[in-house]
């Protein structure tokens, strides 16, 4: 993009890049440094020896897995349907779904609270899984539909001519073609559901049910605002997503580039 032929401009641009990235790294360094302050690695030992910690991790993993499953199934089918099937008034439904994109989670807390206590799901993981999945679906459908629109209709028609019904077309023609966008959706949904805070804070009351994002808050209460332990807990909760992102980075970018908002 930029001219990098002369050494001078190259060095200047490299320095510029470094300077812009620096503020992004600074809080991360402060985080790790703060977590090692005081009693050093013992902070981590204290956090890790907390008997409830594995529970928090398992809850978060279950939550993310369930949300990912629901979102992936709904998104792939919805994208296929909106893009390739002839359904009456499908644009109206699509538009309705896009309106839901603007729905802020915080608007829903009062009605959701009423619904959840009525059906007795309060303080169970389901009370977080379903709303989180529902709130993600509009955006993932938008992304995936853009992607599926780019797949030629001829492929679907060819499958039909060969005698495949809709379900077979979906499974054997569309699913393999949709892999890149599914990877991007997976990463996006994993990040969002692992990081869900508001609904977990409201609907999960006992520590046995709570997720990893509530751990720093838990420590604030437990250790009387011992910052170093809070930060150690923060590093530990952040680690899985960072690792997941680094490994899936390439798929994520490729998928987004392919399905990107145009």
């Amino acid at each position: 993009m930029f001219e990098t032929k002369t050494l001078r401009s190259r060095i200047l641009l490299q320095i510029l890049l470094g300077l812009i990235v620096l503020p992004f790294v600074f809080p991360l360094i402060a985080m790790v440094q703060g977590s090692l302050a005081g009693s050093g690695w013992n902070n981590y030992r204290t956090v890790l020896s907390l008997p409830l910690l594995p529970g928090f991790f398992i809850n978060s993993a279950l939550l993310s897995a369930a949300v990912i499953l629901i979102v992936l199934v709904c998104t792939t089918m919805a994208a296929f349907g909106f893009s390739k099937l002839h359904i009456r008034a499908k644009e109206v439904y699509f538009w309705m779904l896009m309106v839901a994109l603007t729905l802020p989670g915080v608007v829903l807390i009062a009605p959701l609270f009423a619904t959840i206590t009525r059906i007795g799901a309060y303080n169970t993981l389901w009370s977080v899984i379903l709303p989180v999945a529902a709130l993600q679906i509009p955006f993932t459908v938008l992304l995936a539909r853009n992607f599926v629109d780019g797949i030629p209709n001829e492929l679907v028609e060819a499958a039909r001519v060969d005698g495949a019904n809709t379900i077979r077309t979906f499974r054997h023609v569309m699913m393999p073609l949709m892999k890149p966008i599914m990877a991007a959706v997976l990463v996006l949904v994993f990040i969002n559901s692992w990081n869900e805070f508001l609904l977990a804070l409201l609907f999960l009351q006992t520590p046995e049910q709570q997720t990893i994002t509530l751990v720093p808050q838990f420590f604030v209460g437990q250790y009387n605002n011992d910052q170093t332990k809070v930060l150690a807990a923060a590093v530990l909760t952040g680690l899985p997503v960072v690792i997941a992102y680094i490994f899936l980075q390439r798929f994520f970018e490729r998928g987004l580039a392919a399905g990107a908002l145009k």
Binding site: M1, A30, C74, L97, V107, A110, V220, V241, L261
Partner: protein, 276 residues
């Protein structure tokens, strides 16, 4: 066919169900008082403060994120060293939960925190202060955290969009003697317009939704200086248990969100027609 369409409709119905809930769930509590909640809201200085903060937040974060996003995307499309490392570093804040990073920022800006420590070291100790107790400073900090957290997304979207610009056009422009700034202004900026509009909509909705960051870092204080619509709804309906009033603000928030999205969408398509 039945299964796929059935599930499809289930998704739509479920989302539609949720979208109507914000009225249905609140109406039994609202009806007896009629429009009282709304008139109360219009007379509530905290509401106007929160609205003003939300708008300011939108304008500032959008401008900074777009500028940073485009600049970074262009830089990382150039032949520079350690590009993947930089990409990952910019994106890490996106994947970290606000709940995880909030304690870090609280610690950084605390009276005995990192920022004051750094000021002390470089000889500007006189400027050291309890940052989060200063209304304006706290608001700027909230904005900077949001920028820190979401520039990664903006960057990735621009990075993908710029990758689709024809390199021959760029080379031709360079042969004609266009400098770096000229290329950004005349080729990249118009080339990524669709992405910019999408980002504007996402940022507008995001600003209206802002909750985690102010809630976890400042809690809306000091004296409502960092109160946003999202935190106000939470405070009113959960802390004060005035669900009806909270729902009234929610309805306004929802109308604003849909309205903004439509306005941005319509004005951008009109511009498109004018361009042709």
């Amino acid at each position: 066919m039945v299964v796929s369409v059935g599930l499809l409709y289930y998704c739509i119905a479920y989302t539609g169900y949720i979208s109507t809930l914000s009225w249905d769930g609140a109406s039994p509590l609202q009806q007896p008082v009629g429009a009282d909640n709304f008139t109360r809201m219009l007379q509530d200085p905290v509401f106007w403060r929160a609205l003003g903060n939300t708008v300011a937040f939108f304008v500032v974060t959008l401008i900074v994120q777009v500028a940073l996003g485009i600049l970074l995307a262009c830089l990382l499309h150039s032949q520079l060293y350690l590009r993947t490392l930089h990409k990952v570093l910019i994106f890490i804040p996106v994947v970290l939960a606000t709940a995880t990073t909030a304690p870090v920022f609280r610690q950084m800006y605390a009276p005995d925190g990192t920022v004051n420590g750094v000021l002390e070291v470089v000889g500007l100790g006189a400027f050291a202060q309890p940052w989060l107790s200063n209304g304006t400073a706290a608001l700027i900090i909230i904005m900077s955290v949001q920028i820190w957290q979401s520039t990664g997304i903006v960057f990735v979207l621009y990075y993908a969009a710029i990758g689709q610009i024809d390199t021959e056009v760029l080379e031709a422009a360079r042969l004609d003697g266009a400098g770096n700034l000229r290329i950004i202004g005349s080729i990249v900026w118009p080339g990524v317009r669709g992405t910019t509009i999408a980002i504007a909509i996402l940022t507008a909705i995001g600003s209206l939704k802002t909750f985690d960051i102010p809630f976890l870092i400042t809690g809306g204080g000091p004296s409502y200086a960092t109160e946003f619509l999202g935190t106000m709804i939470y405070r009113v309906s959960v802390a004060f248990s005035q669900v009806g009033y909270g729902a009234a603000i929610s309805v306004v928030l929802l109308v604003l969100a849909i309205g903004t999205a439509i306005i941005i969408r319509v004005s951008s398509t009109e511009r498109e027609k004018a361009d042709v």
